[in-house]
């Protein structure tokens, strides 16, 4: 749902990607590449949370007996 940009990759890799996407059932090369990069990324990425909010959450989790 986010903004898209163009990237350039070598033709060989692109052709491999087309084949791989097709074989694995990805709807497009873009979907394959986005998926692989996301898989390789750190898990906290994609969360926007301040230290302060995180402390509040931990406090609530303690109050509820989760930690």
């Amino acid at each position: 749902m986010s903004e898209k940009i163009k990237i350039e990759i070598s033709k060989e890799v692109y052709e491999k990607a087309v084949k791989l996407a097709e074989e694995a059932g990805f709807p497009s090369v873009e979907a394959l590449i986005e998926f692989l990069i996301e898989e390789a990324s750190e898990s906290t990425e994609g969360e926007e949370i301040s230290k302060e909010d995180e402390e509040k959450i931990k406090e609530r989790l303690r109050d509820l007996g989760y930690i």
């Binding site: 749902m1 986010s2 059932g25 709807p27 979907a31 996301e38 898990s43 949370i49 509820l64």
Partner: protein, 382 residues
């Protein structure tokens, strides 16, 4: 590591602080639309990131993609249309680009920007989402009752309406912090609307054999007549965890989310939502999210093949039963014996016994769990 949110970013559309005060005032002055409790639940799921990457109700392009391709327009997997329906007379004088306030029970819940107003065909919708137009299907029945137009657009949540389950509901950002705090790298999520019997315990423990933690995630909120009451499910699970699970491997928390009975499509939806809660694995059982005989018992499993980019690993675990010869809980895949030696776990039979205040046999349900359930005057929704 805790899983990444679906679409890459955990959505947060909950307005706080001074901005909230300002928007609450604005909400009283702009045109308003009253919404049902089910749409409030959708709003909560969007705003708190359970439906990431959705930031609002679907616009037409996404709606059509979801309907026909089971993906958003940018190819992100998404199988259940999250839509807001209105009557034409509710939006007289409003146009695309206008802000409206969504009210529930005479209170402003959220603001919404009308990005688009569009029509829909409920028959096509039902056929594609539920694979039937039979109005005896509860999802189709609900669809047919919905209003004639859809409005798409982003939302901003102003108020979480009062909720008697607030002590048991955690949102994605909270479970993510919790799982990291526990040091879990792999988490299997279990969807349920039921009290736990031995078969459920078996599949959960089968998953837990391979993952660091287990998220038991019952759906709370809307229920149909004859279902176990939410508080009964929670209490029953607490008893099971207390007596039969090691400390610190299970998180039990409720999920406010609507149930559609859309079978295979909903199984994918359930997996996506649990990914947003940080789960890395999702247990898909027999006839997941099904109803009646509308879907094949393992049809949901097949649909997962179409989503190699789902980003959460489905765990397909067959229905479990007790085998006298094996001397324990087994599945079709692990036991070579015949029906003569097998004791099936029947949800219907358990229900009938509990209704009479009887404790079901131990191979079906743990006595500690049964005891908690029959202590309720009426454990079922009237």
């Amino acid at each position: 590591m805790v899983n990444r949110p679906h679409g890459g970013r955990l959505v947060n559309r909950v307005v706080k602080g001074r901005r909230k005060e300002a928007l609450l005032e604005e909400a009283l002055e702009i045109p308003r639309i009253s919404i049902s409790y089910e749409r409030v639940i959708d709003l909560l799921d969007i705003a708190h990131g359970a439906f990431s990457p959705l930031e609002g109700f679907l616009v037409q392009e996404d709606y059509l993609h979801v309907l026909h391709d089971m993906r958003l327009h940018d190819d992100t997997p998404w199988t259940i249309p999250i839509i807001l329906d209105v009557d034409p007379d509710e939006i007289v004088g409003l146009k695309e680009g206008d802000d409206i306030a969504l009210f529930y029970d005479d209170k402003p819940i959220a603001l919404m920007k009308i990005e688009e107003v569009y029509g829909w065909d409920k028959k096509i919708h039902s056929q594609l989402v539920y694979k039937t137009t039979d109005v005896n299907h509860p999802g189709v029945a609900k669809t047919m009752e919905r209003k004639e137009l859809l409005i798409g657009g982003r939302i901003d949540l102003l108020n979480d309406p009062p909720n008697r389950f607030s002590d048991i509901v955690l949102w994605p950002i909270e479970t993510r912090v919790l799982f990291r705090e526990k040091g879990w790298r792999t988490i299997a999520a279990f969807q349920t609307r039921n009290v736990p019997h031995r078969g459920h315990e078996y599949v959960q423990k089968a998953a837990l054999t391979f993952t660091d933690g287990l998220l038991i995630h019952p759906l709370l909120g809307w229920k149909k007549k004859g279902d176990y009451k939410d508080e009964v499910i929670i209490r029953a699970y607490k008893a099971l965890i207390e007596h039969y699970y090691p400390k610190n491997v299970v998180v039990l928390t409720g999920l406010m989310m609507n149930m559609h009975y859309a079978g295979p499509r909903e199984a994918i939806h359930h997996a996506i939502v649990r990914k947003n809660f940080g789960a890395t694995h999702f247990i898909v059982g027999r006839d997941h999210a099904g109803v009646g005989n509308y879907y094949g018992p393992y049809e949901a499993w097949e649909l997962f093949n179409e989503f190699p980019d789902l980003g959460i690993t489905p765990l397909f675990i067959r229905e479990a039963f007790y085998c006298r010869k094996c001397g324990g809980m087994v599945t079709e895949k692990t036991c070579p014996h015949t029906d003569q030696d097998r004791l099936k776990i029947s949800g219907t039979r358990i229900r009938a016994m509990l209704r009479k205040g009887e404790i079901p046999p131990e191979h079906m349900m743990r006595p500690e769990v049964a005891k908690v359930i029959i202590e309720f005057e009426n454990p079922f929704v009237e």
